[in-house]
Amino acid sequence: MSAHLEIRNLSVAFRDHAEERLLLDDITLELGRGEFLGLVGESGSGKSLLCRTVIGLLPSRRLHVTQGSVRLDETEILGREDCIRGRRIGMIFQNPTSHLDPVMTIGKQICEGLALHKGLGPAAARTEATQLLRQVGFPDPERSFSAYAHEFSGGMRQRAMIAIALSCDPEILIADEPTTALDVTIQAQILRLLQDLRAARGLSIILITHDLGVVAQTCDRIAVMRQGRIVEHGEKRALLAAPVHPYTQQLIASHPSLSHAGTEPVRHKHDRSPVFEITDLDVTFPQGGGLLMKRRGFRALKAVSLKIWPGETLGVVGESGSGKSTLARTILGLNPASAGRILFEGHDLTATSAQLRRAGLDRLRTGAAMVFQDPFNALNPRLTVGETLAEVLRHRGETPPAEIENRAGELLDMVGLDRAFAPRLPRSLSGGQCQRAGIARALAVNPRVIIADECVAALDVTIQAQIVALFRELTEKTGLTLIFIAHDLAIVRNLCERVVVMHHGEIVEDGPSARVFARPEKPYTAALIAAIPDIDPDRPINGGIPFPSQQEFAT
């Protein structure tokens, strides 16, 4: 059987008047007919660039194909991508929000492709589009046809984008990180949809992702990319069972679904008073309203009660919009609470007396620190790493001025950054290094509690594993209390001894991780756990559990 899409010795270079850099280095890859190929690699490995080259959408004019060929059904398509883009190869992107036209209805956007590539008239296009919407899982395709992108949730938008890509009956579908921006349960649904589509339409699919778990469960073959090269490829079971290249081994080893260690039962005696004691916390954000209209509120947190004990590693999990970040910001005093009480080491942060509240906040500022999600955004771009640390140390006033430089160096040592990073600006660091600097800044406070809000979500898997290991080491060595907020349950299972599951602003389950992950009490928790992508290729998507029928609807 000949390959459906064949890439031979493809190289792409970045050319500037000053330099030439090879971004794709001699790529050779085949996609069989009806095959589901997973392309795995970290950010910057060139996996997206490869697919963009195939459909002729190089992101910059300074990029040039220097050698190689791309053949579709044995016909060279390189340089003639216009004829195949959309018609024979469809593409879906990571962020459906920015790839859908916000002022055009979903239906119109599908019809556009139908009219262009298939020459359908308006009425026929509409019928066809409605059918497509049904096929990708819209519960009410007639109504969704005339809805706009903002009326849908992220998962539905991604479905709409798949419908657009399918509109011209492509033979090949390239999906560039289609589920990265989505919650796990939705991710599982989209992956299942891709599999169904392949079966129904005989599509060949290339799935680009950074998550080995995603490809392990969905694809037939896996290709691992690194620094513009394919380091290894092969049938998924063979590759996962016996990886040859050290990088693949490292990727597999750092996948969070594999290691189950580190979650010994709660070892704390609760005879000490809790660090945080949260009672019936309510947070309401004003929403809409205006001069004459009555303001409505959106309840982000509903009567949340929680006790956090000293030395504990607590994971807070939930899907986007479940209120976990709001909880973090509110207990750190960055968000006003609408009702309820927050005690930090016995000091009331929600006291009515401004003086008491002030005292509580002062204590909080010296005892708790936060690590943020986006490592680049969390550091002041104009201050070097050293200056950032020195500022905190100086502000705390515990370190004598002469010692500050040395102490900043020690903090860098603690987070595993070389001291040579001190004079560097955040923009010259990688994401992982930035995040380490962010953690060093939190440690500079010399806190008793660290609240980490999705602090590994933006990082590559291997870096994620390193940061998680760093947190584990810090909590074990220093007896730090860690509140670790994440949507990735696998990481929480690895790191935390107790887990709190949030859903729609409420705590639905709270218990030791070992117990919660083994025997979840609530169906929502069970659904979340089932949706974790597993690196075991024989485990079906979503643990084989059928999805609850269409949870999400157009608003």
């Binding site: 960055l334 943020f372 771009p381 502000h395 430089e405």
Partner: protein, 285 residues
Amino acid sequence: MTRPAHPPLRPRLSLGLRFARRPMLATGLCILGAFVLMAVFAPVVAPYDPILQNGDITLLPPSLAHPFGTDNFGRDLLSRVIWGARIDLQIAVIGVVFPFLIGTVAGTVAGFFGGWVDASLMRLIDVVLAFPFLVLMLSIITILGPGLGSFYIAMALVGWVSYARLIRAQILVLKTQDFAVAAQSLGFSRLRIMFRHLLPNALAGSLVFVMSDAVLVLLNGASISYLGLGVQPPLAEWGVMVFEGQGFLNQAWWITLFPGLAIVVLAFGFSLTGDALADLLGVKE
């Protein structure tokens, strides 16, 4: 712990090479530098006294002895243009610095605090903007009495609004960024967050605007002097000189042309530098 000596992080380019890569910046800075030198060394460079009148040589056309010619009082125009650089550069600098300082502080405070502080400052800006610029300037100067001092005060009172709006918009964006929230969560004071964390990240746009604003202020100063409310004769200032030459435009064009040219070239220097800075700092206008 401020940037200790470590191996350089980027290959350092020599100053000459860096300028060679940015011809716009190099040209702009050269023009500005030439004017500054001219102003500083005016007594040395200028061939004649700029104020001394000489009835024997009135309205001479440009010649070797008087390259820019002489005016109706027999003063050497080249010397007057050179001495004029002193006053005009002063106008451009002082006329920009105070509005910039006031506007920056006002904009930072408004953007950071929001609420009623922001609302009242913004309304005040609306009031200032509601009047035509020149009319407002003229009325303030008339009240204070003509002279350069009044011009600077009027400039400061009117000119800050553009800086305030520019900076406020930047601060509004920056204050929701994680590093600002982080600073807050670390318990830094509001002053520190505003001026150490937010402002340096917001300044790039205004610095570029300063350059183009300097051009406008220079022209304003010239027009105010032209209207008789700024620099008073016999002091040499380019705007005043253009005004004085107006009556002789038919007989002696050079009286008007050369100071006018000086204004144009200096303005060109400022805007070149401004554009190059925008490029350098990554500000898109």
